[in-house]
């Protein structure tokens, strides 16, 4: 789903032990399975800065990985401190919108 320019999350909440819910300024309610969010980390430890090749081995991330704490970064993203010790990633609002797993966004992605 493509959010309008300037769209930003306005609220963070939790749906059960492993789903992050993001309420957006344009009224959208996004959902993310937290392990998928961990695997999608784009920091330099997880994705090669020069080639863009993945460096993170999915098998190295515990099946029950959880956020410990989620914090806004400036005005443009979120950072997550994970239970596997990883904490260097920044998820920009654009990235979060692309990664959204709510039924509406999944359906739009499947038909695209």
């Amino acid at each position: 789903m493509h959010p309008p320019p300037g769209a930003r999350p306005t609220g963070l909440s939790q749906d059960g032990p492993d789903v992050l819910v993001l309420d957006w300024s344009h009224g959208h309610r996004g959902r993310h399975r937290v392990r998928d969010l961990r695997l999608a980390c784009r920091c330099a430890q997880c994705v090669d800065e020069w080639t863009g090749a993945p460096r993170l081995q999915p098998g190295s991330v515990p099946a029950d990985v959880r956020p410990l704490r989620i914090e806004p970064v400036g005005l443009y993203g979120l950072s997550v401190e994970w239970s596997d010790g990883h904490a260097t990633g920044i998820y920009t609002f654009e990235t979060l919108a692309e990664l959204c797993q709510c039924s509406e966004c999944l359906a739009a992605g499947a038909s695209a």
Binding site: L12, Q14, G74
Partner: protein, 359 residues
């Protein structure tokens, strides 16, 4: 005799030209007192540096004076500076944090930052200035002080008071001849401390003099400081404008609103002939602002007195307030305050709170 309703109803025709609403519905009219034919009230604006405050005051006076039975009108001015978003954990008492940046060095960014801070203070605002140029701090020289910041409790320090504003610079903490040979993490740590362990208190505006370019220090500030907006300083020539564009793109990437572009060294006024010489293709800043769709905040002439004033520790808006450069810098300050007020008046973005995950 006139009553309060009539006064307010008359004032509804006075529009704030930036906020496009009348001064009554904006809540600017305070303390209306009617004493026979004498009416007094206070016009409480959104910034003391409002460029049109005298016009607004005159117009408010005129419309009330025109009411039947009114013989005298006494309007006083005040300002309550607003913040574009609710206070967060970092710099909670600062209403507007302004980054002054440039893509390249040598364009007079620190001069603009120092004079912007002083011009806002001269207008009546509570102002702080953070010299974030870790590798080349210039504020101790520009403000003529080498005071040591005093400790405030165990973990924080007081800023230095200089010329009516609160000031902090790495230059206060190190030997002036000592080069800062620091890697990124050290810079990050020092800047984070300046934001979080300096007792800035309550400020209308905190001006941050950024180091030139788009590196570690800029990233730290855009990530850690609740920036209300950025001012990009450039000179008119092409190479400088290319870098200004890069600076602008960086702020766009991190969602910091660009308040506009200042064209410094726009022209040189010869003290012999008085003619304005366009040394560097004047107008480049304005054209770039137009091309990129951001406000143009003004052009500042190159005057030897500006640099001399900085070197002597008394910035030009204080040393020679009537010269062309000082007037231009005051106009820039008014324009910056105006842009911030417009942004604060638009629906404020709520601050996203940090979240602890429940296992």
């Amino acid at each position: 005799m006139v009553n309060v309703e009539q006064v307010l109803s008359a004032l509804r025709v006075v529009q704030d030209p930036d906020l496009h609403r009348d001064v009554v519905s904006l809540g600017f009219i305070k303390d209306v007192v009617i004493d026979g034919g004498r009416v007094s009230f206070r016009l409480d604006l959104t910034t003391p540096a409002c460029p049109v405050k005298d016009q607004l005051k005159a117009e408010a006076e005129r419309v009330v004076r025109a009411l039947p039975g009114v013989q005298a009108v006494d309007v006083s001015l005040s300002a309550s500076v607003r913040s574009p978003r609710p206070a967060g954990a970092v710099l909670p008492g600062v209403r507007n944090t302004i980054a002054v940046a440039s893509g390249k060095g040598g364009v007079g960014k620190s001069t603009v930052a120092a004079n912007l801070a002083l011009a806002l203070a001269d207008a009546g605002a509570a102002v702080g200035l953070l010299d974030a140029d870790i590798y080349g701090p210039s504020m101790p020289t520009m403000f003529g002080t080498n005071a040591r910041p005093q400790p405030a409790g165990e973990k924080s320090i007081h800023p230095v008071y200089a010329q009516g504003i609160k000031l902090m610079s790495i230059g206060f903490l190190i030997d002036p001849d000592q080069p800062m040979v620091w890697r990124g993490p050290m810079v990050h740590g020092a800047l984070s401390q300046f934001l979080e362990q300096v007792e800035w208190g309550t400020l209308d505006y905190l001006v941050v003099d950024m180091p030139p370019g788009t590196g570690d220090a800029q990233l730290t500030l855009t990530q850690r400081a609740p920036l209300a907006g950025a001012v990009i300083v450039t000179t008119p020539q092409q190479v400088s404008l290319i870098d200004a564009r890069k600076g602008l793109k960086m702020f766009e990437q991190v969602k910091v609103p660009v308040l506009g572009i200042v064209e410094n060294m726009a022209w040189f006024s010869c003290d012999g002939c008085g003619k304005e010489h366009d040394l560097f293709r004047r107008g480049g800043g304005r054209r770039t602002a137009e091309a990129l769709g951001v406000p143009f905040l003004g052009e500042v002439p190159l005057e030897p007195a500006v640099a001399a004033a900085g070197d002597d520790g008394l910035p030009i808006v204080r040393r020679d307030p009537q010269c062309a450069a000082a007037q231009a810098l005051r106009r820039v300050a008014g324009e910056v305050a105006r842009q911030l007020a417009m942004r604060a008046a638009a629906a404020p973005a709520p601050t996203l709170a940090a979240m602890a995950w429940k296992p």
